[in-house]
Structure formats: C-alpha cells, structure tokens
C-alpha cells in the first residue's frame, strides 16, 4: 500500500516540480503545491495512466489533496 503513495508522490514531484518532502497526505494541490486547475486535470490524467484506471469527471473534481488521490486509488484497486 505504501507503494501507491510512492508512485503518486513521484508523479506529483515530476509534474509540479515540488520537493518530495512537501508531498504530505494533507497537502492540497492548489493551496500547498502551487498547482492551477489545469495542473490538477493533468495530474489526474497521469494517475489514470500510471494505475491503469479511469477516473470520472465527477470523481476527479473531489480529488484536491494528496491523500484524496491516494485513498481514491486504493479504494479502486
């Protein structure tokens, strides 16, 4: 399960250019990690590819923190 967090963290670090230490579960993409709305859309697209799943627009709108993303992926796996 830690593996999910690791893979999510790597994508966030690559995409948003933040330090790994900043990627905490409670960190908000927009408020803490400097993402704009389009960055979040792209992040979700990359998570879909990485974990080979489809995230609907409705679900994607609910993902706003690192923890949201990790929990969503774990629940779906």
């Amino acid at each position: 399960m830690a593996e999910v967090l690791e893979r999510v963290t790597k994508i966030i670090v690559d995409r948003l250019g933040v330090e790994e230490s900043e990627v905490k579960l409670e960190a908000s993409f927009k408020d803490d990690l400097g993402a704009d709305s389009l960055d979040v859309v792209e992040l979700v697209m990359e998570l879909e590819d990485e974990f080979d799943m489809e995230i609907s627009d409705d679900d994607a709108e609910k993902i706003s923190t690192v923890g949201d993303a990790v929990n969503y992926i774990k629940a779906k796996q």
């Binding site: 389009l38 859309v41 792209e42 697209m45």
Partner: protein, 247 residues
C-alpha cells in the same frame, strides 16, 4: 510540406468546405480522419482521394452533437494514428426561418450541431493534445456570427457562440502549447448556399467588395495556415475570409 507527420481530424469532411480542408491538409503532408454524418460513400471518396495523394486517411461516422460518439471517434483516431495534432470543427447545418416562425427543434438542431458539437469535439481532443503539449484547434464560424443575419437566429447564435468558445478555449489551453483560432467565412459556393434563391444571391454579391463568391479552397488555404507553424504566435483570433464583406 508544412504538415508532414501531423494527424488531423476534420468534422463534416464528406463534402463542401470540409472536404476541401481535408484535401488541403493532406496535400501538406497530414494524415486525415474524414468525419461524416450520413454521406458514407462521399466520405469514402474523400478518403480515396487523400490516399491518391500518398497520405493515410480513414472515414469515421459520428454525429458531432452526440457526446459518446464523439468520444469514440477521438479514441479511434488516437488508436489508429497514435496521436492527434489538428482538429478542424467544420460540421454545420442551417435551418433558416424568421424568429417569429422558427420552431423549437429548428433552434435546437442548429445549436446542437453547430455549437455543442464544437464543444464536445474540443473537450474530447484536449486530453491527447495536453499530453502532447501541442495541438491546433480551428473552428469554422461564419461571418454572420459577427454581423447578424435575418432569418438565421439559430445559426447566428451558434456561430457567435463558436467565436466566444474559441477565445475561452484559447485562454484555457495556451500554457499547454495548444492554439485555438476561428475562421469566419463569407458566402462560399457549396450545397449549403446552393439552396438559396437567385435574388438573395444577387443581393449578397452586391455586398462583397471582391465581387465574387468564395470557393471552398479559399477557406482550406487559411485552415492550412492556422494548422501550420506559420501561425504559431496567433491564438483566440477569428479571421474573416469573406471577400471583404464585413470589415
């Protein structure tokens, strides 16, 4: 050739302006998806013409106003060609009537095909284009979307809407290497304009400084320009290609 290796999707490419756009892009080296609604044979003829030019092409039936069909069309495009560089939103219809007489379904049909269709196709291509960090979206509006025109409330509303949609899409996608521009054609000789009566045509002609109707190729040439690197510093614009009708 300006578009070597590029993949283009042209909606409503079975005849008229869309057909000429598909051929124009292919002549510059692009492989083309020829979308149509009902004219299967004519779409297949366009595919054959493109193959004669040495490019690859496929025809895909899809009503642009239906979101599931549009999603499938874009998926089939990316599955077949591996990418998607150019979207030309050209499919369009007219259901002319005075506002007083216009039926609700005449209004809905035109808004659905000419405006919602552009939204759906744009939405569907943003994903592959954002991933590529490049893309060109070219929307075929109309000069009457700028000037207004009696008898075409539905069509004018849709075509004006396309100009606003073009600007917003351009702003949303600008940081991802995607440009979005529109063309506003004037009176172009196609089946769409064939059905107008001669008196109306005379009246229109009198308003055109260049004193002739346009040909589909007049529009296709500008699409090629907007699809190529030559226009890379332009986005959110509407180019009037109308013989000077509206200045």
């Amino acid at each position: 050739m300006k578009l070597e290796g590029k993949i283009a999707l042209v909606t409503g490419a079975s005849r008229g302006i869309g057909k000429e756009i598909a051929l124009g892009l292919a002549r510059q080296g692009a492989d083309v998806v020829v979308n149509y609604s009902g004219s299967k044979e004519r779409a297949n003829e366009v595919v054959a013409e493109i193959k004669e030019l040495g490019r690859n092409a496929i025809a895909i039936q899809c009503n642009v106003a239906n979101s599931d069909s549009v999603t499938n069309m874009v998926k089939e495009t990316v599955d077949t060609f591996g990418r998607l560089d150019i979207l030309v939103n050209n499919a369009g219809i007219t259901r002319d009537n005075l506002i007083m007489r216009m039926k609700e379904d005449e209004w809905d049909d035109v808004i659905n095909t000419n405006l919602k269709g552009v939204f759906l196709c744009t939405k569907a291509v943003t994903r592959p284009m954002m991933k590529q960090r490049s893309g060109r979206i070219i929307n075929i509006s109309s000069i009457v979307g700028v000037s207004g025109n009696p008898g075409q409330a539905n069509y004018v509303a849709a075509k004006s809407g396309v100009i606003g949609l073009t600007k917003t899409t351009a702003k949303e996608l600008s940081t991802r290497g995607i440009t979005v521009n529109a063309i506003a054609p004037g009176f172009i000789s196609t089946e769409m304009t064939d059905k107008l009566n001669d008196e109306l045509k005379e009246q229109m002609l009198a308003q055109i400084p260049l004193a002739r109707f346009g040909e589909p190729s007049d529009i296709a040439n500008v699409v090629v320009f907007l699809a190529s690197d030559d226009s890379k510093y332009m986005t959110g614009q509407t180019l009037h290609v109308d013989g000077g009708m509206v200045m």
